[in-house]
């Protein structure tokens, strides 16, 4: 049985989209298909009107597992995209210090100040996940694909990072696609939320989020917010039942 | 039946015909011996094999035996029967490269001289006896497989080797027979003996009758081979599935003629030694290395197991 089927999902440029759905419904698969990391056994993936044949360039991606390269320090792991993506690639050698400073400031933003010299396996699970987020951001991609980037974090750290993402989105107008199982997270951050169901993975609901931006953490305590989360819960409950 | 392990000096090729004949015609069996014959990779190998006790009897180079005994005193292995009255050591050159039968023609030439070669090991004797100054000669350590091909190609002017192998190999490489010059060292004052039957001390002391029987059987094999080389070679071919009869027969004929059935053998019978010549050989061996303790003739060779003289006639 295919993991995802007949799945249609439209995200505008500069939009912040969130995908929610029960565990195992095909969210990660969707992300990998969309970026061309996996190829469909049958059928085709169309992005921007064109069939995806090779990994799309210029996406920043944070995987569900942090998968840092164990032979590089955290800092070197974060600098990795710069060694690949132009124009940084050709600039990296000469402007090393500048880029390192940028990586350090990103680390500081996610609460890992001064941990760059450690190897990934010397970091805690949540720290690795945050470092992996830094890696997705360092080259300032136009499209960010985040697969449960805050799954291993406590609520405080998580909320801090929400704000970091919110500000980043506001400042740079990047397109962000966020996979999450935290409905509050989706409601707080996204412009549009897609609910997926399992076996085969399909979009069962699409919901625009109309809260004005910039949003403050306080809105998560408003009744409208609770209502939205409740509505999403309903969709997911349905999606699970269907499976 | 007494089991006897016998180590040849080399593969099953023409020169091993006497032993193959003795096996096939049951001469060993008739003496109450159950002989197994194994090949070896060179005429030095049987010496250490016999000395180690793995083998009872070997067919190997007596000059190496002398040296081995000197290096390892107390092993007590001895030569009991001479097979090659003259050693096959030779310098083989090409007329077209300026090599002639004259020793002086060797001056300034380039030689293929495998480090492990038995013939090259006698160079110090050859050089001393013929008063050669070899400072102008170049000796290249080439492996056995390339020795003759390099001579055939003209990469070297001459090689050290055994007359019967190198000559035949060169011919099969397409070098015309009249371009090949063989300088057998024994024609140039190198008075060594060649391969002999060697027995371990243990075997000789514990089973002297078996040794005598063994030599009688070999003697018969030699006589049969001399009489009918062609059918003797068949016994070899049977044991070597890549050997070609005509080649092996030629090889055997050369060995018989040049090394085994020499004028001295025709006169005095096969298998024995001329003590004076043997003593001289011991002196000459002293030119190739320094004795720790120079042996006497009796230490190296004993004729006590040889068949009676009248049984050792070969013509």
């Amino acid at each position: 049985m295919p993991a995802v089927q007949n799945l249609n999902l439209k995200v505008n440029e500069g939009e912040f989209a969130a995908i929610v759905g029960p565990s195992g419904c095909g969210k990660s698969t969707l992300m990998k298909l969309a970026t061309g990391l996996q190829f469909p056994r049958e059928g085709a993936v169309i992005v921007g009107g064109r069939q995806v044949g090779a990994p799309v360039k210029l996406a920043g991606m944070a995987f569900q597992n942090p998968t840092m390269l164990p032979w590089r320090t955290t800092l070197d792991n974060i600098l990795l995209p710069l060694e690949i993506v132009e124009p940084h690639r050709s600039r990296l050698r000469r402007h090393k210090a500048e880029y390192v400073a940028k990586a350090e400031s990103l680390l500081a933003q996610v609460g890992l100040k001064g941990q760059g010299h450690k190897f990934p396996w010397q970091l805690s699970g949540g720290m690795q996940q945050r470092a992996s987020l830094c890696r997705a951001l360092i080259h300032e991609p136009k499209l960010l694909m985040l697969d449960e980037p805050f799954g291993a974090l406590d609520s405080f750290t998580r909320e801090e990072l929400w704000c970091v993402m919110r500000d980043l989105h506001a400042a740079q107008k990047v397109t962000i696609i966020l996979v999450t199982h935290d409905l509050r997270e989706a409601a707080f951050l996204a412009d549009r939320i897609f609910c997926m169901s399992a076996r085969p993975g399909r979009i069962v609901a699409e919901r625009r989020v109309e809260f004005p931006r910039p949003r403050d953490l306080d809105i998560t305590y408003t009744p409208e917010f609770s209502e939205l989360v409740h509505e999403l819960r309903g969709h997911i409950a349905q999606a699970r039942q269907a499976a | 039946q007494t089991p006897v392990r016998f180590s040849l000096d080399w593969r099953w090729e023409g020169p091993a015909a006497p032993f193959a004949v003795a096996l096939d015609k049951g001469y060993f069996k008739a003496e109450g011996l159950d002989v197994t014959i194994d090949p070896a990779a060179g005429s030095r190998e049987p010496i250490s094999r016999v000395a180690s006790g793995t083998y009872d009897v070997g067919f190997g180079d007596v000059n190496s035996l002398v040296r081995f005994r000197d290096e390892n005193p107390g092993t007590g292995i001895k030569a009991v029967m001479v097979i090659y009255d003259r050693p096959p050591f030779a310098i083989i050159g090409r007329k077209s490269r300026g090599i002639t039968k004259e020793v002086s023609s060797l001056q300034g030439k380039k030689f293929g001289a495998p480090a492990a070669d038995g013939a090259y090991a006698q160079w110090p004797i050859f050089k001393t006896v013929n008063k050669i100054d070899d400072s102008s000669m170049r000796f290249e350590n080439v492996g056995f497989p390339v020795r003759e091909p390099m001579l055939a190609q003209g990469e070297v002017d001459a090689v050290f080797g055994f007359s019967m192998s190198s000559y035949i190999n060169l011919k099969s490489r397409g070098v015309p027979a009249d371009d090949i010059v063989v300088l057998p060292m024994s024609d140039y004052g190198v008075d060594l003996y060649g391969n002999t039957i060697i027995v371990s001390q243990k075997f000789a002391q514990e089973k002297p009758e078996a040794v005598k029987g063994l030599l009688r059987a070999i003697m018969k094999g030699v006589q049969d081979t001399v009489k009918d080389p062609s059918s003797a070679v068949d016994a070899v071919i049977k044991r070597n599935d890549v050997a070609k009869k005509d080649v092996e027969l030629e090889r055997l004929r050369m060995v018989l003629e040049q090394n085994m059935i020499t004028p001295w053998v025709k006169e005095n019978g096969f298998g024995g030694i001329d003590k004076a010549r043997f003593a001289k050989a011991l002196d000459q061996i002293g030119l190739t290395f320094t004795y720790k303790a120079k042996p006497g003739v009796e230490d190296v060779f004993t004729d006590q197991f040889l068949p009676a003289a009248d049984q050792r006639k070969v013509n």
């Binding site: 990998k32 032979w71 690949i84 | 250490s48 480090a115 350590n141 990469e155």
Partner: protein, 255 residues
């Protein structure tokens, strides 16, 4: 830090123990010195022939290093190619395996024909005999990279070459260093074979001459020198390994 000390002493203890055992066995079983000389005899021969041994050993060392260097370079490159292309892998492995099933002794004569007696055949033999383990291990290392690690780079639109260099090669380093231990010993064997058949100097040449002259202790002395050279090279490699693949050696099993 008791275990640290133990680790430093272990090689010495084992090695010396081994030689003592050998010595004792030789004496008790009265093994004659032309079969297997006792270590004391060998050591004596090493001392007696020290100047020749040193001279020839240096020559062999050079031959080996040259051949080994070639093997490392070529092995890495070919291993990367084989590890990153299934097609090339399927196509060339049979040839490589076939070539390697051939004893190199058989190849030396050809080298002598083409390059004459001298330094080329030993170097080339060392190279030919030792590159294969490197190729195999590097290729295996690259082919077994976890796809999750690749994805990190593929998501960035990295070229295959980038992926091979940034993920494949570092991931294959433990494999690579493993193969070096095999390759260095083979390289010694190769240069010795080359020297035996096509050189006027070197341990290989010395070996043949010594064994032709029944100088068994000298033969063994030469072999021991070879072994010592091999161990030295191994120590260098192991040092490089420790400093370059420390990240992979975190297992606590090996305690």
């Amino acid at each position: 830090m008791k275990t640290r000390n133990q680790l430093v002493f272990a090689p010495w203890v084992f090695t010396i123990g081994f030689f003592v055992l050998w010595e004792v066995l030789c004496r008790v079983l009265k093994i004659s010195s032309f079969i297997l000389p006792a270590p004391s005899t060998i050591l004596w021969a090493v001392w007696e022939y020290r100047s020749q041994l040193t001279y020839h050993a240096f020559h062999t060392l050079w031959m080996t290093l040259a051949g080994f260097g070639l093997a490392v370079g070529f092995g890495l490159l070919l291993g990367m190619l084989l590890g990153s292309s299934r097609l090339v892998n399927a196509g060339t492995y049979p040839l490589l395996v076939g070539f390697n099933s051939i004893p190199k002794v058989a190849v030396v004569p050809i080298l002598v024909f083409w390059f004459g007696v001298g330094w080329v055949p030993p170097v080339l033999t060392a190279f030919l005999i030792s590159f294969f383990p490197i190729v195999v291990n590097v290729a295996t290392g690259i082919a077994t990279v976890e796809p999750e690690m690749e994805d990190v780079l593929r998501a960035l639109g990295a070229s295959k070459r980038d992926i091979v260099f940034k993920v494949g090669v570092p991931r294959a380093m433990p494999y690579f260093f493993g193969s070096l231990k095999v390759a260095i010993t083979l390289a010694y064997v190769g240069s010795v074979i080359g020297e035996q058949n096509a050189s006027n100097v070197g341990i290989g040449n010395l070996l043949t001459r010594a064994s032709a002259a029944f100088e068994v202790p000298l033969v063994w002395a030469a072999l021991v020198v070879l072994a010592v050279l091999g161990v030295i090279m191994y120590a260098v490699t192991a040092y490089a390994e420790r400093s370059m693949t420390g990240w992979a050696q975190r297992s606590q099993m090996a305690a």
